[in-house]
């Protein structure tokens, strides 16, 4: 089935779904992009439809072709389609109709398939024709119809002697009223009377007029016609408003869906702005009260018009406002405002500036209000979402605190006890042998270092998980971060068997140097602790997904059931319970890699041992080439 980008495509999608279900066949939704025709907004819209179709079980295809016809033929061949369902706008001119038929014919011939047409009403088509064209059409049409009435009535009268001229005219006027509305029927009636008078009574068929009742007949019939026309017109109006309401409902439904996908106030505002732009050709902003009685305008594009402070503007929308109707849009400084009222009263405004300036048309107030209500609901939902998330974070940190107390009470006490014991024995009056004294001092030093590390890790993890650490990504050479980590470890433990293998052409990587160094120190430290007698290999390479880093040891490895859990806070593998760690190192690594939008995991190393892998995205633009570096350099030369 073929999708266009108009709003009613939804109906087409649903039809496709129903047909596929009835016939029990798979279906494919196809959008053909004709590059010279399609705007970015339309393409976005089409993507929405494709997603909709996908939700209903369709396979989707996006084809770029020079014409819709070619695109459908190509995709139809590829998928061996047996039926093509096409949406078809009511043609605006006979040429359109011809074009459409030709397209269908071409598709039918090349694919040998059945084509199902689905008439669509595009909202644009209704309003499309300019007034003068309408008027001209009306005059020409009325003339033609009346002339045909004359000829037909004359033929009847002359041919078979039927005197029923008035009914023929009544038929004609009735058609005109149906085609062009009541406005047309009154002049048409007058014209019919004149023509009748002129044609039949005076000139051509004076005999006909002798049947005097004809004039009366005509008058009565035309009165009847007027009544019929009145009824038909009401019917028309109702159909039109029904159709408009249907279109609006569809629009609101689509809007509701789009809003339902938003996760933040910013996204809600973007969706609202985009839809309102499409609906009313207007720029729209969501105004949320910010700090110090200012507005925060979303989306944060430049050009948002200034408006009065929240403390002045918001009361105008409360129920106690002196304005005539607090729910009608407020017009001020070329913009219309409507309240985004959630449960707690108006907590924001929707600001709209029509492209031509000017007031908002009254007939669309309802729609504008409905959009605003949906927007307000979406904003409220987003706020609840944020609160729920915050609550979850709070629970999480509460849980962390509890675990922390448990772990801390043990892991802090052990080194403290050692320090206290060593210090008190050093202070005993009986002199200790020099070797013991040095041993105790060394112990104090080691245990205090361990304490410092533990506290540092705890703090770091808490800050990482509470979001208190602002990541400062800079374009870094991995060599430098790795070197810094290795030097740090060796300063503490002396020369270490770490084999580093970094390609020279490795690109710069956007990362926070201090944090990533911490990750490497933790991973290398772990590897060395578990495999003290074999070298640890550190490698990095580039992949389309980003930079890959690997730290592999030949230690005992990590059993598969712990591959995920090793990154949990305070998790220690059963065999490591006594080695003095607290199980924070890998949790810190996980948290740091996570705020880099990367991923970290562990796998078994072929041949034995554990292999930790980190994947870091290379997002953003790498810094410019060095040739454009400061011009002052070239002037200086060295001997």
């Amino acid at each position: 089935m073929a999708l266009g980008s108009e709003a009613q495509t939804l109906r087409l999608v649903h039809t496709g779904f129903r047909m596929a279900r009835e016939q029990g066949r798979p279906w494919v939704a196809v959008h053909v992009e004709v590059p010279s025709w399609e705007t970015a907004a339309e393409a976005d819209q089409a993507r929405v439809w494709l997603r909709e179709a996908q939700d209903l079980g369709a396979a989707t295809a996006w084809v770029v072709e020079t014409s819709v016809c070619d695109g459908i033929i190509e995709e139809g061949r590829r998928r061996r389609a047996s039926q093509v369902v096409m949406g078809r706008n009511r043609p605006r001119s006979p040429w359109d109709r011809l074009e459409h038929t030709r397209t269908q014919e071409a598709i039918r011939r090349s694919l040998g398939v059945r084509i199902v047409n689905l008439p669509l009403e595009s909202p644009a088509a209704e309003a499309a024709a300019p007034v003068w064209q309408d008027l001209l059409g009306m005059v020409v049409g009325s003339g033609t119809v009346l002339a045909m009435c004359c000829i037909f009535a004359s033929a009847l009268y002359v041919g078979i002697g039927f005197p029923g001229i008035p009914p023929v005219f009544a038929l004609g006027v009735g058609y005109l009223a149906h085609r062009w509305g009541r406005a047309c029927s009154i002049p048409a009636t007058l014209a019919a009377v004149l023509v009748f008078d002129f044609w039949f009574q005076h000139r051509w068929l004076p005999g006909a007029a002798e049947e005097w009742s004809n004039s009366l007949d005509l008058a009565a019939t035309l009165v009847l016609v007027q009544m019929v026309v009145f009824l038909v017109d009401r019917l028309h109006q109702e159909t039109r408003s029904l159709r408009r309401r249907e279109a609006e409902t569809l629009l609101l439904m689509v809007l509701g869906r789009a809003l339902g996908r938003c996760d933040s106030a910013r996204e809600v505002a973007a969706v609202l702005a985009e839809r309102l732009q499409g609906l009313f050709q207007a720029q729209a902003w969501v105004l949320v009260p910010g700090p110090e009685d200012t507005w925060r305008a979303l989306p944060e594009a430049p050009g948002a018009p200034s408006c009065p402070r929240p403390s002045e503007l918001l009361p105008l929308f409360s129920a106690a406002a002196t304005r005539a109707d607090p729910f009608e849009p407020l017009f001020m400084d070329g913009c219309s405002f409507v309240a985004l009222a959630g449960q707690g009263g108006a907590d924001g405004l929707l600001q709209l500036r029509l492209e031509g300036g000017g007031r908002f048309p009254q007939e669309s107030w309802g729609l504008f209000q409905s959009v605003a209500v949906q927007g307000a609901l979406a904003l409220e939902r987003v706020r609840w979402l944020e609160e729920a998330q915050q609550a979850r974070l709070d629970t999480e940190s509460e849980r962390l605190r509890n675990t922390l107390l448990g772990a801390v009470s043990h892991d802090l006490r052990t080194p403290l006890a050692a320090i206290q014991g060593a210090a008190t024995s050093l202070m005993l009056p009986e002199p200790l042998p020099e070797a013991t004294r040095m041993d105790l001092l060394a112990m104090i030093r080691e245990e205090s270092e361990r304490l410092a590390r533990l506290l540092g890790d705890l703090l770091e993890l808490t800050r990482l998980q509470s979001g208190a650490i602002r990541i400062q990504k800079e374009w870094q050479l991995l060599d430098e971060v790795v070197g810094s980590a290795v030097v740090h470890l060796e300063a503490r433990q002396g020369p270490l068997p770490i084999r580093v293998e970094l390609p020279e052409d490795l690109p710069l990587v956007p990362l926070d140097g201090a944090l990533m160094e911490q990750v490497l120190i933790n991973l290398l430290g772990n590897a060395l602790r578990h495999a003290p007698d074999s070298p640890v290999d550190l490698r990095a390479w580039e992949e389309p997904a980003g930079i890959q880093l690997e730290i592999a040891d030949r230690g005992p490895g990590i059993p598969a059931e712990f591959h995920l859990r090793v990154f949990d806070k305070f998790f220690r593998m059963p065999r490591d319970r006594k080695d003095g760690g607290v199980g924070l190192g890998l949790a810190i690594c996980g948290a740091i890699v996570k705020i880099h939008d990367g991923s970290i995991w562990v796998e078994d190393r072929p041949g034995g041992g554990a292999r930790f892998r980190i994947s870091l995205p290379l997002d953003g633009l790498p810094p410019g080439p060095l040739e454009t570096a400061p011009p002052t350099l070239t002037q200086e030369s060295l001997p």
């Binding site: 030093r445 400062q472 060599d479 430098e480 971060v481 810094s484 970094l502 060095l626 350099l633």
Partner: protein, 231 residues
């Protein structure tokens, strides 16, 4: 100047208790102040040769103390700060502090930093033209660099970077300071240039670039040319 005078501005008594005897035992005269205001007053009255300044003082912001000290004194100032205060350290260094120590620190580290800072202060104007650290020899006057006696060819930029580091040999140099000295105002914020040139310098000067011995990285802060290699 047989016994240099060191002023410790530190509010924590236990840290003072550790610092005072350690320094006194290494032939320094020691003065202490427990608040920023006291510290400033004592600095004015005694004009110490070196100041140890804690950034987390109760009364004044460490940066403020540093700024008022730097208005009249060129004497070396060492910053003592807690972990995770990288921003404060960088700010203090850019405001004119000479180096920093991160709590907790050991006595060796403290003494080494003080030694370097005092050495720099005493040769402030008469910088040694030849710098020897380990196998690396740098002749600032003749603009020559050699490793184990073999000359190393550096590009003008690499040399200027090395020179900027050498002028603070043993002390930390912040990214901003190096960028400004090597690239001038256009370098501001272009830290990645610095990193790339450090990378090439390391490849030329370090025996094992993955374990730098001379050109050390101070994460998030800057670099340090290590001269303690043979001491």
């Amino acid at each position: 100047m047989s016994q240099p005078l060191i002023l410790i501005i530190e509010d924590e008594a236990s840290l003072r208790r550790f610092l005072v005897p350690t320094l006194a035992n290494h032939d320094y005269q020691v003065l202490t102040a427990a608040s920023g205001a006291d510290g400033l007053a004592m600095a004015r009255s005694h004009n110490p040769d070196l100041i140890l300044l804690d950034l987390g003082l109760p009364d004044l912001d460490g940066g403020q103390v540093l700024e008022s000290l730097r208005q009249w004194s060129r004497k070396p100032i060492l910053i003592i700060s807690a972990r995770n205060q990288e921003q404060d350290k960088v700010r203090a260094l850019d405001l004119g502090a000479d180096d920093y120590l991160t709590k907790p620190f050991g006595a060796e580290e403290l003494l080494a930093r003080i030694r370097v800072a005092l050495r720099h202060a005493s040769h402030a104007t008469l910088e040694t033209p030849v710098l020897q650290c380990g196998a690396l020899k740098l002749d600032l006057e003749r603009r020559e660099v050699a490793m184990d006696g073999t000359p190393v060819r550096l590009t003008p930029l690499e040399y200027r970077l090395l020179e900027a580091l050498a002028q603070r040999a043993g002390k930390v140099a912040t990214h901003a300071q190096l960028l400004n000295e090597v690239w001038g105002p256009v370098g501001a914020g272009q830290t990645h240039y610095l990193r790339i040139y450090m990378g090439t310098l390391r490849r030329k000067l370090e025996p094992d670039p993955t374990r730098p011995r001379y050109l050390l990285t101070e994460p998030s802060i800057g670099y340090r040319l290590n001269i303690e290699e043979d001491q």
